[in-house]
């Protein structure tokens, strides 16, 4: 059973055209994370939600936003995608912050910017 679901698996967008990536979870976990992973690079945390509390990483560009309308869903919005934003975007969850080391990852959405 899929526990962390990401849609779509592949997303193609145009330079400067807003795009939204979706993540949902069936684990009822309090924390949801968004990572960006470029080729041959480490997954890089963009931000996370602890319940409704949004926590942005200091070096996450303003171009990246997130919404969490309820426990199950979390969205990543890229307001004006640039060529450098092409990457794999991973969503993950953990039961709580203290247990952040046990994260459950989705399959990822690969974003292509034309």
């Amino acid at each position: 059973d899929a526990m962390v679901i990401q849609n779509p698996r592949y997303q193609v967008t145009q330079f400067g055209k807003p795009v939204t990536l979706s993540c949902s979870q069936t684990l009822n976990h309090n924390v949801m994370y968004w990572y960006q992973q470029k080729s041959s690079q480490a997954p890089k945390l963009l931000f996370h939600y602890y319940d409704k509390d949004f926590n942005n990483e200091a070096d996450t560009p303003d171009n990246f936003q997130s919404r969490r309308p309820n426990t199950s869903f979390c969205f990543l919005d890229i307001r004006s995608p640039g060529l450098g934003d092409a990457a794999m975007y991973l969503c993950a969850t953990s039961r709580d912050r203290q247990g952040m080391e046990t994260q459950y990852f989705g399959p990822g959405t690969r974003l292509l910017v034309l």
Partner: protein, 106 residues
């Protein structure tokens, strides 16, 4: 600043040979380290944590604070061990290394 270094991108080993994946870290606090694995066409998942000191799928990892290392080892590699392995440090978030691609040659 917290940093995790995995120096080797690709590691090829023959089936039955030992495999060791190196991980070094820099962190001013008390480190908690983990290994994550991603098999082909599967999700990234937790493999083991240093606190548990257990063997998972034949893999072990010992935290060496003197050398700031957390190398992953398995004495006899199997074909199903072919995967991408990431070392991760728990600070105020999980900081991942760049990963090691392991290919086990039959």
């Amino acid at each position: 600043a917290q940093r995790v270094t995995q120096p080797e991108k690709l590691l090829s080993v023959f089936k039955g040979a030992p495999v060791e994946l190196k991980c070094n870290y820099s962190y001013s606090g008390s480190p908690e380290l983990f290994w994550y694995v991603q098999y082909s066409r599967q999700r990234l998942q937790l493999l083991l944590r240093h606190i548990s000191r257990e063997s998972i799928k034949g893999f072990t990892a010992d935290l060496n604070k003197g050398e700031t290392s957390f190398h992953l080892k398995k004495p006899f590699a199997q074909e199903e061990d072919s995967a991408m392995y990431y070392c991760a440090l728990k600070c105020n978030r999980l900081a991942f290394g760049k990963g090691n691609q392991v290919v086990v040659i039959p």
